[in-house]
């Protein structure tokens, strides 16, 4: 347990250090408007990372989240044009996310297929449906009242409108994971599926619901994405799954399940956003920024192994030293 604690604490410290260093080398970085920019930039990532943490904690994964978000975004545009009501469009978009998640959950929990394979399949499938729905076109005539939510700030603050949504959901997911029976079940399933079954934990139902919630939140992220860019496009949120999973793993969640904290993941997302922003301010082109997500992903897998070897080495050395000095 202690190593896990020190992992998520380290990520938080890293975040603080990055912000501090950033403020020194670039005065723009620590400004309020840039904070708003960072929150907007990582909004969808953070949203999806919340339920993804639960999924990975139980030993499952959902790679289709970015495609789900894009499909929900496309449905938002399509339904807006078809119905003329944003309320209907929003419901349709979230509903799309729910259905996408339910399909993943059904295939994984009812048919017993591996979530990696299933969600690689639906990653392609849902993205394909985006093109089937909108073709190569984009929907860009959302009402201004709604798109303002996407890119303007809450009056009197530098914070984008997505901020309260992020705070409320992050707190809610954190509370559920760390304080409730559902959260205990998530840890338990990740540590041993078999023992969980013997303990009467409804493993399949729990996982199914986690897939559905992940789909719903991805749908929500699709709406946030559309409003931010004031358009619905079939290639929206492309590659976001990589950033989401990188953040969750870098936040200290074990890819094998059973280990992790919500604040570690939230710190990791904010760290990712800070580094991206800092590099952008230094003139690094946006497309090169996936280097960061890829790097984080690798780091989260490599660092624990290196740390373990290092501590084993130190233990051995201290023993040799102790033996040498009688």
């Amino acid at each position: 347990m202690s190593r896990v604690l020190s992992w998520d604490r380290s990520v938080f410290v890293l975040l603080v250090v990055t912000v501090a260093v950033g403020a020194v080398i670039d005065p723009d970085f620590a400004g309020g408007s840039n904070l708003g920019f960072v929150l907007q930039d990582i909004g969808e990532i953070m949203l999806i990372a919340l339920p993804m943490t639960f999924l990975i904690m139980t030993g499952e994964i959902d790679l289709s989240v970015a495609s789900t978000a894009a499909l929900a975004g496309c449905v938002l545009g399509w339904a807006w044009q078809a119905s003329g009501s944003m309320a209907v469009a929003v419901l349709a978009a979230v509903g799309t996310g729910v259905v996408c998640g339910a399909v993943n959950g059904f295939l994984v929990t009812r048919l017993g297929l591996g979530s990696l394979a299933v969600t690689i399949g639906t990653l392609g499938l849902y993205r394909g449906l985006c093109y089937a729905l909108l073709g190569d076109t984009t929907v860009a005539d959302f009402p201004a009242g709604w798109t303002n939510l996407g890119f303007s700030s809450i009056p009197g603050t530098p914070l984008p409108y997505v901020t309260p949504l992020l705070v409320v959901l992050a707190v809610a997911f954190g509370v559920v994971l760390h304080l409730t029976r559902t959260g205990r079940w998530v840890f338990a399933v990740g540590q041993s599926v078999e023992a969980a079954r013997f303990a009467g934990i409804p493993v399949a139902r729990l996982k199914f619901r986690l897939f559905v919630v992940t789909g719903a939140v991805a749908g929500l992220a699709g709406i946030v994405y559309d409003l931010r860019f004031a358009s619905a496009r079939p290639d929206g949120a492309l590659g976001f799954e990589l950033a989401v999973i990188a953040s969750v793993l870098f936040g200290g969640v074990s890819i094998f399940g059973g280990v992790g904290t919500m604040w570690g993941v939230v710190s990791a997302v904010l760290f990712l956003g800070s580094v991206r922003s800092l590099l952008q301010l230094q003139g690094v082109p946006g497309n090169a920024l996936t280097i960061i997500t890829g790097g984080l992903l690798l780091a989260s897998v490599v660092i624990p192994v290196v740390a373990q070897r290092w501590s084993a080495f130190r233990e051995r050395r201290s023993r040799v030293l102790a033996a040498a000095t009688p």
């Binding site: 304080l179 029976r181 969980a196």
Partner: protein, 507 residues
């Protein structure tokens, strides 16, 4: 037959893991041509000492020699090269390779042109199996081999590397009576071939039947070494626990109450067939039989882990839905599973978390699990079961086997069950804890709990049960009352052969 110079000598070995002193002052002398029993309660340091010989751990201090020279520690490879082979309780063979390939894995004999010499490998494996007196086909794949046969393959592997020291860590814990008997024969052959065999077992009758000398460990130190002849089980147990164990099976007499569990015609094709029985309140009913006779499968089906094809299960007069452990729990049925590490516990989680996991909704207020209530529950049961622990936040993976089993029991007793099903409740745990578990089960039955126990240990079955159900090949062969249940009758029913009946009698 025993040389004057020991083949292996461990003197004053100490080893600490973090703050835990696993070995304090361990000593062990092994001579060529002896079977040496290493005894002690769980947590006494046996496994740590064996892992030093296996090259998994290094001692912090103390001296280890082999063949008169220093023993090079800390490398499993070097241990093998120095002639030490360890046979684990559950070997890990390559399932898709043949037995011959498994024996010679990594050292396959080659022809002059560098290709694997299959014929020679097969012949050599057959010779090894012949030496061990077992009939195994070198060409068959390891998949589907019984644990007993897998151990034989491991032993053949050890022989093929000219191992001088063969360590068997609780080899018979998962074996049936006849398989154990065969393994003891193999151990005798190894001894007669001049090897030093270390034999770890919690079954003292085997120790007395097989071993030449014994070493008893307690709290990380060696407390006694002597020839097996001239001592007895009572004395050995006293050395192990450091106190007198008067009542190994403290049976509380009770009058059975209402029928709690009624099973009728339970059948899963090819696994068990037409099994019917009742368990009453206050009664301990034991399932006896050989490993693989279908006992665990029946109780798993009753609890709802597995589906069954036909038949019915009733709890307190109303039917229990199939394949629904949650429904079983809600109706007061608890199952302490066979494999505590895989099925009973969440190994990285704390004692408190493990104890509370089944009763979380009872501990929650407005959906939030009250950590204080969780700790109070765990503290209560830790005290009731005399759990030896380093704080309730300690991960259960750091507890000894016996203490882990106490946590499993605590977790299920905390559900306040009407029917407690226990599958091999004392497998692989030490004598002292065993007695505590028996006392606890007896006590709970005395208070009106219905207990259904699966056990492969006959003394436990005979000592604890009000009634004994004997299974063989998926069928219920006999139901014996406490008065009529004897070792012979149970074995007779379990094996279906008159000749086996007298064989199990202990030394």
């Amino acid at each position: 037959m025993v040389d004057a110079e020991p083949l292996v000598r461990v003197r004053g070995a100490a080893k600490a893991f973090g703050g835990v002193q696993a070995l304090r002052d361990a000593s062990l002398e092994l001579f060529a041509g002896e079977v040496h029993a290493l005894l002690g309660e769980n947590g006494a340091g046996k496994s740590t000492l064996l892992k030093v010989l296996a090259g998994v751990h290094r001692t912090d201090s103390g001296e280890v020699t082999i063949g008169g020279g220093p023993f090079e520690q800390g490398s499993t490879r070097r241990s093998r090269e120095q002639g030490v082979a360890v046979i684990y309780q559950e070997p890990s063979l390559f399932p898709d390779l043949s037995l011959a390939e498994n024996v010679f894995i990594g050292r396959q004999p080659v022809t002059g042109r560098g290709a694997v010499d299959w014929a020679r490998m097969r012949r050599a494996a057959a010779v090894l199996f012949g030496q061990l007196g077992v009939d195994l086909d070198p060409d068959r794949p390891a998949r589907g081999l019984s644990i007993a046969d897998q151990q034989i393959v491991e032993i053949a592997k050890a022989l093929s590397t000219d191992a001088r020291v063969i360590v068997m860590d609780e080899p018979t814990a998962a074996l049936s009576a006849s398989e154990s008997e065969r393994l003891l024969d193999v151990a005798r052959r190894l001894r007669d071939g001049g090897a030093a065999v270390v034999f770890v077992s919690h079954r003292l009758d085997e120790v007395f039947a097989l071993c030449d000398r014994l070493t008893v460990m307690r709290d990380g130190a060696t407390v006694h070494t002597c020839p097996v002849a001239g001592t007895d089980a009572g004395e050995v147990v006293r050395w192990m626990v450091g106190r007198e164990l008067t009542d190994l099976f403290p049976k509380t007499e009770t009058t059975p109450g209402d029928v709690v569990l009624r099973v009728r015609g339970l059948t899963t094709d090819g696994v068990f067939d037409d099994v019917s029985f009742d368990v009453r309140a206050g009664e301990i009913v034991a399932f006896a039989g050989l490993v693989g006779s279908g006992r665990s499968e029946v109780v798993r089906a009753v609890f709802g882990i597995d589906r069954y094809d036909s038949g019915s299960v009733e709890v307190l007069g109303s039917p229990l839905p199939p394949a629904d452990p949650r429904a079983a729990l809600a109706r007061g049925v608890a199952l302490v599973p066979e494999d505590r590490r895989q099925q009973g516990l969440f190994m990285p989680a704390s004692i408190a978390r493990n104890t509370a996991v089944v009763v979380l909704s009872r501990l929650a207020r407005r959906g939030v699990v009250r950590e204080r209530a969780e700790r109070e529950l765990a503290a209560h049961w830790a005290q009731r079961l005399q759990l030896r622990h380093g704080g309730l936040d300690q991960p259960v993976e750091r507890l000894s086997g016996g203490n882990q089993q106490k946590v499993v029991l605590a977790k299920w007793l905390a559900t306040d069950p009407r029917l407690l099903v226990v599958d091999e409740p004392t497998r692989g745990i030490d004598v002292g804890t065993k007695a505590e578990v028996h006392r606890l089960l007896s006590e709970q039955a005395g208070q009106g709990l219905a207990v259904l126990m699966v056990s492969s240990e006959l003394p436990e079955v005979l000592g604890m049960a009000d009634r004994v159900l004997v299974m063989r090949e998926g069928r219920l062969m006999a139901t014996l009352d406490r008065a009529e249940a004897t070792q012979e009758r149970v074995m007779l029913a379990a094996t279906g052969q008159a000749s086996v009946a007298g064989e199990g009698s202990a030394a």
